[in-house]
Amino acid sequence: MEKFITKDNLYRLAEELAATCRVLAPVADCGTVTFRRFQPGMVLDLHSRMAAVSPKAATFPQTETLLVVKREIPEKKPEIIETLPEGKNVVLGCRPCGARGKLIFDPVYETDKIKDPYYLQRRRNTVFISLACDRPETTCFCHSVGSGPADPSGSDVLLTLVGEGYVARSVTPEGEEIMKLALFSDAGDKGKEADAKNAKAREMMGEAHDYASAPAKLLARFDDMDFWLAQSAKCISCGACTYMCPTCYCFNITDDDLGLSSQRIRTWDNCMSHTFTLEGSGHNPRSTKAHRLKNRVGHKFSYYPDLHKGVIACCGCGRCIKQCPTGVDIRQIVKAAQEYAE
């Protein structure tokens, strides 16, 4: 389905959806742009820049309560309450790369043997209305990881800015359902204009880098700690890259003791942290930042593709580069491995 929605009507759409759903939208937030829960009256910042944080919290919140244990008196048997996520979510105005992040989650969180009910429920109940990019940032490389600035995969509706509104294209039946609202009008021949804009944005990105050799080349460097020491020299081993990443899906589980009751929470985990692989014995197989960065890069560009039909576990949004306090550039590291002369 192809339709048109004016800027004003897109805002009305947010208001309308917010009446029944939890709408997350990019807002200017003290100099940065973050996704916040939309409330009528809020000013959206859809165009100035890609939001600093990714929209992954919609399907994979930073903290989620898995279960609550309640005990009224110490002698009584505790009551265990599972807390599956309720309600519908809409992410409005994320970039296509942000919406694609969850496609990397899917094969991990839903297999023949394992199904993660918390993730799957959120995934089913979340609609992504994405906005195609019209100009790449210096850190963008979606075109090199099998995507592009107007990639519809992962989105339910894809918007392209044309004049004073957006050409809207449905990608899924859920998206089509939203586009049946009267706020959308006939697109006329604006579709062609949208195609031209999307093609121009792709052209501005230039030639894509070929990562085809990356899985094997990174594996070849697996035992080369000198390579990883050099690549990780400027890394400070914080979690900005992983927490900003739309595709990083690792988590930690903690039982938070609250006296007579407690809660089991799941929180984002971060492979750049020492505790990520710290074993009960005290042994840590990834004891240095070099080991940890090797894992982060290797996982995205080698181990994951090997397990999942060659798909690179990166959507090319560049947040890990742009938000890194020291400017570690994952593109350069993979390239260095690809170009490494034996």
Partner: protein, 318 residues
Amino acid sequence: MSQLDDLKTAIKSRLGELECVIGWEQGYDPLHATPLFIRSEADLDRLIIGPLAVHNLATYLTGWKGKKVGVVVKGCDSRSVIELMNEKLVSRDDVVIFGLCCDGVVSQRKIRAALPADPGFVESVEIGADSLKVTVAGQAATLRLADVQADKCLVCDTPDAIVSDFLIGKAHTPAPAPSLKCQDEFEAKSDAEKFAFWQETMGRCIRCYACRNACPMCVCRDYCIATSRDPLWVSQENLPSENMMFQMIHVSHLAGRCTECGECERACPVDIPLMLLRRYMNKQVRDVFKHEAGKALDQTPPLLTFKVEEERINERGW
């Protein structure tokens, strides 16, 4: 010869005996520099200095413990090196200090606010004597360096490296502003307003610990109290209260040790103004202990020592 040429000559003269020399090079786009680890003369060609060289490279020194390295420092960074030495975390014999006389560095946040489009779309940058000419998304803009300088530079009284083996550049006569407007304005707020501010701002924190790991004085790193699971001191739950709790731990562990290099605030991927907390704490330490971290060698931070009677703490006279 330019300051950069002098620096290169100095580094060349010592490179042979060092594991590496830590400096800066051009980063992923024309607006960003990134740390450079110089191991050979070929690497030296990539070295840059100037207003984009924002990183405090002293942060890396503890990671090279036991090896002899060189480090390029601005005046503010040299305070961190001194503090690390005063706390015996780094040995003077293990570090060759290439000190700069610094004209100030930029704040990427101020640049973002001043440009006609987001700096993510930067195309080119020309660095002049007192301005930056930036082309972003097809539009050119000239920014006065004075307008986009990091806050710390506005109140800096140590532009030239305090301790160094080589001091490179022309010495300055510092003329720091007495205080920062943003700090004064924040401190003038009522407690309720401050509370509301942090409640809101800490909702943005993602607990990535970039502030902690960018800090040259946060040396616990892998063994930080905030990420310890046994005992579990701080909940992993991402709530404004828990996030603020972590920041309070961070700021109190830095009392009397923080050199106000601003790396915590610069590193924050979601722009939390963490220096509001640091500057306030440092002011308390200055008032009570007359101490400023990293201003001179052979000082002991007041909270790492003990005096039966502190001069300015009235313990018995009331």
